[in-house]
Subunit: 237 residues, 2 copies
DNA sequence: CTGTCTATCGTTAGCAT
DNA sequence: TATGCTAACGATAGACA
């Protein structure tokens, strides 16, 4: 048998950062780089003890995700903290201030604000017209302030969910734990099974290195399933 | 003057993937690796033409995020798509299903909240005109200029777009529209101005390479601002 | 907190399985 | 479609600005 001579791979070649033309290559690159990205994320988690959530939609439009401790809680936290000014707003001075206040609010404060939101939602429920009045009344204000009133509903779902979780935690432990809402989330998670949130079934954990491992759920249809990654962390908690 | 002799850096040293003890080191590493992570993400975006959202809470508990085209729409898409998939499929009994349940359980509560919100929106539809008026009124102003001034406000445009889209969908279909709210948001976004979601002010775009660029808004206090990254992509749209 | 510099370490493109 | 292989490329620890 004659060995093919020119085999020693040319090694990694430089590629331009532009959309890969060859569909086949693209798929392989996506897989590899996605793994690499998640690994980097897990390392960052472990090294710095921070929370990270990553959501990726593949070329085939499949959702992949990485999260520590889990995607949902991090997303909730982000959405709750980032978005918009609050509603107790009413008469305070500059809106900018309101935004700052809202953003700076500790989790505890945020919790209370969320409670307000929930209450407000209840009120809204009873009389949709109230909102109409509010909207019209607020027309005299800057547009975004008005929008906030409306937009709230879109986010309310998430806020409420967050509130529920926060409330649970509050019940369990007096207070202050919310500062580490992450910790709480982890606690919740670990109480059920694993310290990390992993939707993995056949994931493979490599020995002494942190590895992302992946779950593959056979989708009912192409768009049906989500691929989620966790990671085997060391003693972060 | 005598040159210090032993200076040539020892180059990169191997480090264990475990929590970095030195607070100072940790901070530096976090910054660097976060940048690296975001860069990797942007490359993956460009190379494979996919959508990615990353949320990171720093050791100081500051939220950083990367998103293409934007965090919110991707998150929405993920949240909307993840929960429901074939829940009612219901009689398989395989491990697969358990995972499905587990996954769904994590969002079950949210799901119900969502349903509530949907109903709420249904009611809200009656107040649709008010919203339209608000929207139109806002378009007459330079709302986007204002957004630049305040980070939070930027979210509002997106949120507003989402809400409006939700409203449309509500009109079209009675329920379940939230599943697709993301796509709508994206459409809205691109039609309005920029194809990419970037809360950047003083971001610097490097020449021929995709670079994450960052906005830095002077925070009122340490926890005050949110850092969000976009990236200058090529013709993804 | 981000940028710069250097020597290394880790990632990965192209192939093959 | 996902790994294994190998060499080249890119990321980055540590020190400093």
């Amino acid at each position: 048998m004659v060995m093919k001579i020119k085999k020693p791979s040319q090694g990694r070649q430089k590629i331009a950062i532009a959309k890969i033309p060859k569909r086949n290559n693209l798929q392989v690159t996506f897989s590899k780089r996605r793994s690499g990205l998640f690994k980097k994320a897990s390392e960052l988690c472990t090294l710095c003890g921070v929370e990270i959530a990553i959501i990726v939609f593949s070329p085939a439009n499949k959702p992949f995700s990485f999260g520590h401790p889990e995607v949902d809680s991090i997303v909730d936290r982000f959405v709750a903290r980032n978005p918009y000014p609050n509603f107790q707003a009413g008469s305070t001075g500059s809106t900018q201030q309101l935004v700052e206040v809202h953003r700076n609010a500790s989790v505890h404060e945020l919790n209370m604000q969320l409670t307000q939101v929930v209450n407000q939602l209840e009120a809204e429920k009873k009389c949709g017209e109230a909102l109409d009045k509010i909207s019209k009344a607020s027309e005299k204000q800057c547009w975004w302030e008005r929008s906030v009133e409306e937009l709230g509903f879109h986010e309310l779902q998430i806020l409420k969910a967050s509130l529920e979780e926060l409330k649970k935690n509050m019940t369990k432990q007096a207070n202050g734990i919310l500062m580490e809402s992450s910790a709480a989330a982890v606690a919740n998670c670990s109480s059920s099974s694993s310290p990390f949130f992993m939707m993995n079934i056949n994931g493979v954990v490599q020995g002494d290195d942190l590895r992302c491992f992946e779950s593959k759920i056979k989708p009912t249809n192409q768009l049906g399933s989500a691929y989620s990654f966790g990671y085997a962390g060391h003693s972060l908690f």
